[in-house]
């Protein structure tokens, strides 16, 4: 798999603040690569540096094996960007907006017309092609934003938090669309602070915090990096101190918390942890309420590595 993006030792400072601290990244062709991190972790700064919008203090950035500069027009032709902020002209219709932005990349009129039509169909805005953006709902507006970024059929597409402030149905459509684009051959860089989206979508993930890469790999690789393999929660009233000590001694249990009649036990390994807990409760005549077994999430990965919750920062 050839690298489409290579970043080595990228350093970006905003006065005293180090936004990117010797940051490294390599994205292969055909991947959906996730950049996950809380707000302010450096995800958008990384994208802006790759796109040559931002100057940086140190490091090398190569896109398609070439150094990216503001005048790398041939490279830019192969790149599509869907930014977090909707960037369309309020005075133009849906069709005109897509036609305008597609026309910045495609000069052949017939080809452009075809691409615009396909983009409108792709995002499902066929019925709204004569609408002005102000007449569109938030979700439809996001879809227009996506269409403007991908109409020219780029080989590399950046999605920078495209689902912020989007309703669940539109979010689902957007994620499905991204998967389709990838199946059609585009390499995707996807940034988000929503770990569920990144888990669902991305083949490889890099977790960022404070401008640094703190972990990268597939979601399985990332989860294997941490101690926690299962977290079990049980609603059980009046649990005795003896019971708490007994449960602590169960195989693979390494952390326990009991408060407000809810017992939470973390395990490192083991495949029958829930059975062991339920057996203990039954044999000691405890009455149980709801029982949950949770596998580790990327939030647990982030929590274990940084000591803070991904959600808390977001």
């Amino acid at each position: 798999m050839s690298a489409i993006i290579e970043i080595k030792n990228l350093v970006k400072r905003y006065n005293e603040l180090i936004a990117l601290d010797h940051f490294n990244l390599e994205v292969g062709e055909g991947e959906i690569f996730g950049l996950l991190g809380p707000n302010g972790s450096g995800k958008t700064t990384t994208i802006n540096c790759i796109l040559s919008l931002l100057s940086y203090d140190k490091g090398d950035i190569k896109v398609f094996g070439l150094k990216m500069t503001p005048s790398s027009y041939e490279l830019k032709r192969q790149i599509g960007v869907v930014m977090q902020d909707v960037a369309v002209f309020d005075e133009l219709t849906v069709y005109e907006n897509i036609d305008y932005f597609c026309g910045l990349y495609i000069t052949d009129k017939e080809l452009k017309k075809q691409y615009v039509k396909e983009a409108i169909e792709f995002v499902g805005l066929d019925e709204f092609s004569n609408f002005r953006p102000k007449k569109l709902s938030g979700g439809l507006l996001r879809r227009l934003n996506i269409a403007c970024g991908i109409a020219h059929k780029p080989k590399l597409i950046f999605f920078d938090e495209p689902t912020v402030a989007v309703d669940p149905q539109s979010r689902n459509n957007i994620l499905k669309g991204i998967e389709q684009l990838n199946r059609d051959g585009a390499t995707i860089i996807y940034t988000s602070h929503y770990m569920e989206e990144v888990e669902q979508l991305c083949s490889r993930i890099l977790i960022m915090d404070k401008g640094r890469s703190i972990a990268s790999g597939t979601k399985e690789e990332l989860k294997n990096m941490i101690k926690n393999t299962e977290k079990i929660s049980v609603e059980v009233p009046n649990l005795s101190s003896q019971a708490i000590n007994d449960i602590k001694l169960l195989p693979h249990a390494y952390d326990l918390d009991y408060s407000e009649n809810v017992l939470k036990v973390s395990f490192s390994g083991g495949s029958h942890n829930l059975v062991h807990i339920l057996d203990y409760m039954k044999s000691n005549d405890y009455t149980l309420g709801r029982v949950y077994s949770e596998l580790p999430t990327l939030n647990d990965v982030f929590l274990e590595i940084t000591g803070t919750e991904l959600r808390d920062n977001a």
Binding site: N48, L53, A87, Y105, G149
Partner: protein
């Protein structure tokens, strides 16, 4: 690519109703208010009207009668009304006439108060008395030339009407409307600022999208400039037509030159705005708009577009400011069109305006193109 951008720039500019509204409304509304406010004042105070005067003939004076015929009428200097002494005194008291000329062996003037009209009558009579003595001398020395002397008197000596050295209109009233057109051109800078904000990644989301496209910034800037120029120039021309045909302002007959001046002025205003919009610091639309307003107003004040006398003072102290101040160049161009038959001064001003416009536009392009920003 250029025409693709030009087409869409025109389209969204024409659909930007708020901005288009103010671009159109400013010159039309201001010229209407100006006409309503100053047009009447001008009619009553500044525009010359013939002075009604009572003529009481005690003894016939053929030469004076001939002169009166020449200077009387609606387009003349005075409106003589033959009266008896008694009627004339009553008319003077009622304010129907401004003075009484007694035609006798010695011609005399009677007035009962001082004012511009009375001064005109007095000056006219003084001038006649001086000239009459010359004619009398000619009559004594060479009587055959008397008619020629009177003709000479008619053609020049007693012609008190304003003479212009061009085909333009040098009425003071028209200067107000020139000022409006000049200021309207300068205010095109606001459109220029807005258009460059939409090209810069650190100032707008649209700027980000256009910066990552494989289109040269020079192409984007020039397309934006030309499309805005088409709109601004059309507005200026419509304002000119409104002033001529609706308000009835007489701009003389050098319309081609006036239109060229409006084109040049609109280009200057837009390029100035684009230059301000392209400055890396200070950033932010509000601050840039503030700078645009300040610069336009300072230029206008220095060019007498807001108050009289400053441009003249600058001309006598630091004339170079008038040579490089676009507002002064525009007003001076209007002045030159109305005051001189040749185009030397007008052409010089046009060339300077083109140079300034080119410099500002080049500056804007060089600041925006191939730019990587320190922060977005």
């Amino acid at each position: 690519m250029f025409f693709h951008n030009l087409r869409y720039n025109l389209l969204y500019s024409l659909r930007s109703k708020v901005s288009l509204f103010w671009t159109f409304v400013f010159p039309l509304a201001l010229s209407t208010f100006m006409f309503m406010a100053f047009g009447k004042i001008y009619e009553t105070t500044e525009k010359f009207k013939p002075v009604p005067v009572g003529i009481v003939t005690v003894n016939e004076n053929e030469i004076f009668n001939k002169v009166l015929d020449e200077v009387s009428g609606d387009d003349g200097l005075i409106i003589p009304k033959n009266m008896t002494d008694e009627n004339a005194v009553d008319a003077l008291g009622d304010g129907d006439i401004y003075g009484i000329i007694y035609v006798d062996d010695n011609i005399s003037l009677s007035i009962n108060e001082n004012g511009i009209e009375q001064t005109i009558l007095s000056s006219f009579l003084d001038r006649y008395i001086q000239t009459e003595s010359v004619i009398m001398q000619i009559a004594e020395i060479n009587p055959a030339n008397i008619q020629a002397a009177v003709d000479k008197l008619k053609s020049g000596t007693l012609n008190y009407r304003e003479l212009t050295v061009s085909d333009g209109n040098s009425d003071n009233l028209v200067n107000y409307f020139y000022a409006i057109l000049a200021m309207s051109c300068l205010f095109a800078s606001f459109i220029g600022i807005t258009s460059t904000l939409n090209l810069q990644a650190n100032l707008s989301a649209l700027g980000v999208r256009r910066s990552i496209a494989p289109t040269r910034k020079t192409t984007l800037i020039l397309a934006s400039f030309i499309s805005n120029l088409v709109i601004q120039f059309t507005v200026e021309c419509l304002a000119l037509l409104y002033m001529i045909f609706i308000l009835g302002i007489n701009f003389g007959d050098k319309y081609a030159a006036i239109i060229l001046l409006l084109l040049n002025g609109s280009s200057l205003g837009l390029s100035m705005g684009m230059f301000i919009g392209a400055l890396s610091k200070p950033a932010g639309e509000g601050i840039k708009m503030g700078i645009g307003i300040s610069v336009s107003m300072i230029m206008s004040v220095l060019a007498d577009l807001c108050a009289n006398g400053i441009q003249d003072s600058i001309e006598h102290t630091i004339p170079v400011i008038n040579r490089i101040n676009p507002a002064a160049l525009m007003t001076d161009s209007f002045y030159a069109l109305n005051s001189f038959d040749n185009y030397e001064r007008f052409t010089r001003n046009m060339v300077i305006l083109v140079i300034i416009t080119s410099a500002l536009l080049t500056g804007a392009i060089s600041m925006i193109r191939r730019n990587r920003y320190a922060s977005i």
